[in-house]
């Protein structure tokens, strides 16, 4: 039953806290390993035993549907015992600090901790206090490495490459960990990354991350191979960062007209959950150029690859 993976790639580090610091070879290694899991996930028999005996705890301080469920499925398909910590009803709500939670969980000897937190750097802080591997499932506006990996895998499978592609990332860059991880990953693999957003949603100094920045969708999408839309939180569209939903959609929402600025075979992505009619029109989201559903599928494969690659490096592996 346990077919050994043909790729013997090992992520030679204890934690995956971000894309920053990963080498070109490490990213490609993870993507190649993910490909194997894409095939596996399409079979009836989806189980591996490479994480048998391992304990994986999913610690989500922010609610999440797709990331948490795909990490849970990924762990289970690799044979790990997976526990989801329901933070809303746990001690954290009773005032326990993150560090105390970490120490408590660590005493239960988890091999892998998957964590999401609303504060940038919180996952790194946790990683300093535990013995197992820590995977960042999103920390504040900092990084969301597995999202960037699944996006890259989706792009590579559809375009055959990443190097030389023009990728436009559009929307709320300021608050987006997805944008940061994608910028680092895509530029590392040689893509040209463009950011398109109103100036209030652009972090200062972002152009120093090796990207082109524009405030105009026509300019930003010109000749783009990939158009990646980002979610705009409801509380940010009432005049604090942009004046209204209507105005935002008019200038930055992706509809068929704006998509036509991009290459004919351009593909549309969105990390989800989508605000239909805010940053993306339903016709585009569900249209022939959309990769949004495929991104979700890749999510499970990529998370299996990350779990596997990190577990090969765990003690007694």
């Amino acid at each position: 039953m346990n077919i050994a993976a043909s790729s013997s790639f090992v992520l030679n580090r204890r934690h995956l806290l971000g894309i920053e610091g990963l080498s070109h070879a490490e990213i490609v290694g993870l993507l190649d390993l993910s490909e194997e899991f894409v095939s596996l996930n399409r079979q009836i028999e989806k189980k591996r035993t490479s994480l048998r005996g391992r304990t994986q705890i999913n610690l989500f301080f922010e609610s999440s549907t797709r990331t948490q469920s795909s990490f849970e499925l990924a762990g289970k398909r690799l044979g790990a015992d997976v526990m989801n910590m329901a933070v809303a009803s746990s001690a954290i709500k009773k005032g326990e600090t993150l560090i105390d939670t970490a120490i408590t969980l660590n005493a239960m000897h988890p091999d892998i901790l998957v964590m999401r937190h609303h504060a940038s750097g919180a996952v790194e802080l946790l990683s300093q206090k535990v013995d197992g591997s820590v995977i960042n499932a999103g920390d504040g506006a900092h990084e969301h490495p597995t999202q960037a990996l699944l996006d890259a895998l989706t792009i590579r499978r559809n375009k055959g490459r990443i190097e030389g592609l023009i990728v436009a990332i559009c929307g709320d860059i300021l608050h987006s960990r997805v944008a940061r991880s994608n910028i680092i990953l895509l530029t590392t693999l040689g893509a040209r990354v463009r950011l398109v957003a109103p100036s209030t949603l652009l972090p200062s100094g972002i152009e120093r991350l090796g990207v082109e920045v524009t405030r105009d969708m026509r300019e930003g999408l010109a000749d783009a191979d990939i158009v990646m839309m980002l979610r705009l939180q409801r509380e940010r569209m009432n005049g604090s960062f942009v004046p209204s939903v209507q105005e935002y959609f008019a200038y930055f929402g992706l509809d068929a007209r704006k998509l036509a600025y991009a290459k004919k075979d351009a593909l549309v992505m969105h990390p989800g959950p989508m605000n239909r009619g805010v940053e993306i029109d339903s016709h585009v989201a569900d249209g022939a150029q959309s990769l949004i559903r495929e991104q979700v599928e890749m999510g499970v494969a990529v998370r299996m690859a990350v779990l596997e690659a990190l577990s090969r490096n765990l003690p007694n592996a």
């Binding site: 504060a119 940038s120 750097g121 919180a122 790194e124 802080l125 506006a141 900092h142 200062s204 991350l209």
Partner: protein, 435 residues
């Protein structure tokens, strides 16, 4: 130790007294709590019987330091720092006068609390303590405090501590009223609306770390506003903590016009920059935030030229509960009483600031601004004196810090030079063990 008030002769020292612009080799005699005289060759013959003679060859004798900005925690947060523990830390850092901030609970906004601080300090502290009083009642920024009565009770200046007074009308009236009492207003210049959710300097690094930024304009706009109000009212004004090059330009314009405006910079902003935050190290989270290295360079230059008048520690004890948190959620603040001198000596060793100016910025200047008797080695002045070994290398071990909290950005830093003896009112309050 405290009972020992024998005369002290600090012999063969390099004596630096910025209050009189003196820097000479000689001896300093202290007796009965005051400085008797400082000159070349007092020698053993010229001293009273029973004088403790200390050979200070290769060492520097200077006025005890006056730290113009220290947050202490008494009353209200004694678990973080008391006047007693802060004074121990101060003595170990060569600080003979602490100017504590009104950010206490209750705040120092009433003459009775000024009196409380002074009594507690008299009974428990081993260095001098002078409080700044709140500028507005409850530090709420709406109504001015009893500036006259507070000053009479012993408040040396008026400030809302780490809070800015956002209402320009309140600030205008306070400056106007304070002028009648010749009271100094010290102001933390950070516009809270522009700070927003910001937790570190705005820029590339904050963007990379996914942290909200505090633009320099938050400081510069408030400083500009204040200086317009000073021009309008003629009050005495001191900017509590200047951190960026733009603010220095603003300050310079005001000084060039001859306004009664002065400013401090913290030792943190003079020796550290935003890159030190690295992987979310909360001990480097301070308010205003650490800026770029270019800003730091500009501050150092402004200190050397005297444009920045005062160097202060910005001592702000925070414990594990407030610091061992994700960066955005951690409290700002760093302790500094014990490291202010040693850390700022980096600037002297690098040849950026000379000895006299540095000591001046931490003794004579604040004494003058606050109307305190110390900060000088003039005969007859209180015998607040420190002996510095300028070269001794040491590594900061947080366990050896006297402060109740260990939130120092100089944790395990390599430092060169330190205080080896601190004399407060003629008594030795601290002696470096391995000296």
């Amino acid at each position: 130790m405290l009972s020992d008030r024998r005369p002290i002769l600090l012999a063969n020292a390099r004596i630096i007294d910025p209050s009189r612009d003196l820097d000479f080799a000689g001896d300093l005699l202290i007796a009965e709590g005051v400085i008797r005289e400082g000159k070349r060759g007092i020698g053993a013959a010229g001293v009273p019987e029973g004088t403790e003679q200390i050979d200070c060859r290769g060492r520097i004798v200077a006025p005890g330091l006056i730290d113009m900005r220290a947050f202490v925690g008494e009353p209200g947060a004694e678990h973080r720092e008391t006047l007693a523990s802060a004074s121990q830390a101060a003595a170990a850092g060569g600080v003979t006068t602490i100017v504590c901030q009104p950010d206490t609970n209750p705040p120092i906004d009433d003459p009775a609390i000024v009196d409380f601080i002074l009594r507690r300090a008299r009974d428990t502290a081993i260095v001098h303590v002078h409080p700044m009083a709140a500028l507005t009642k409850g530090r709420e920024g709406t109504e001015m405090t009893e500036i006259g009565l507070l000053k009479a009770a012993g408040a040396v200046a008026f400030t809302d501590g780490a809070k800015s007074v956002t209402n320009a009308q309140v600030m205008r009236r306070a400056l106007t009223y304070a002028r009648d009492f010749d009271a100094l207003i010290v102001h933390h210049t950070e516009d809270p609306d522009l700070i927003g959710e910001g937790v570190m300097n705005d820029g590339e690094l904050a963007s990379r770390l996914g942290l909200s930024g505090v633009p320099k304009a938050a400081e510069t706009i408030m400083l500009e506003r204040d200086l317009r109000l000073v021009a309008l009212t003629g009050g005495r004004y001191h900017a509590a903590s200047i951190t960026c090059a733009e603010s220095i330009d603003v300050l310079k314009r005001a000084k060039d016009r001859g306004m009664a405006v002065t400013a401090s910079a913290s030792v943190n902003h003079l020796t550290l920059n935003e890159n030190d935050i690295g992987p979310y190290r909360t001990f480097f989270k301070v308010a205003p935030p650490l800026r770029t290295n270019d800003d730091r360079e500009a501050l150092v230059e402004a200190l050397a030229s005297g444009l920045i008048d005062v160097v202060m520690s910005d001592h702000n004890p925070q414990d594990v509960e407030t610091k061992r948190l994700p960066f955005a959620e951690a409290a700002p603040g760093a302790i500094g009483l014990e490291t202010m001198l040693s850390a700022s000596l980096r600037l002297v060793h690098d040849g950026r600031v000379d000895w006299t100016r540095l000591i001046d910025a931490m003794s004579a200047r604040p004494a003058k601004l606050l109307g305190l008797p110390g900060g000088t080695l003039r005969p007859g002045a209180p015998a607040d004196v420190i002996v510095i070994d300028p070269d001794i290398p040491w590594v900061l071990d947080p366990d050896e810090l006297k402060s109740k909290c260990k939130n120092t950005p100089f944790d395990e830093a390599r430092l060169q030079g330190r205080v080896i003896r601190t004399i407060v009112a003629g008594r030795t309050a601290y002696e470096y063990a391995s000296a």
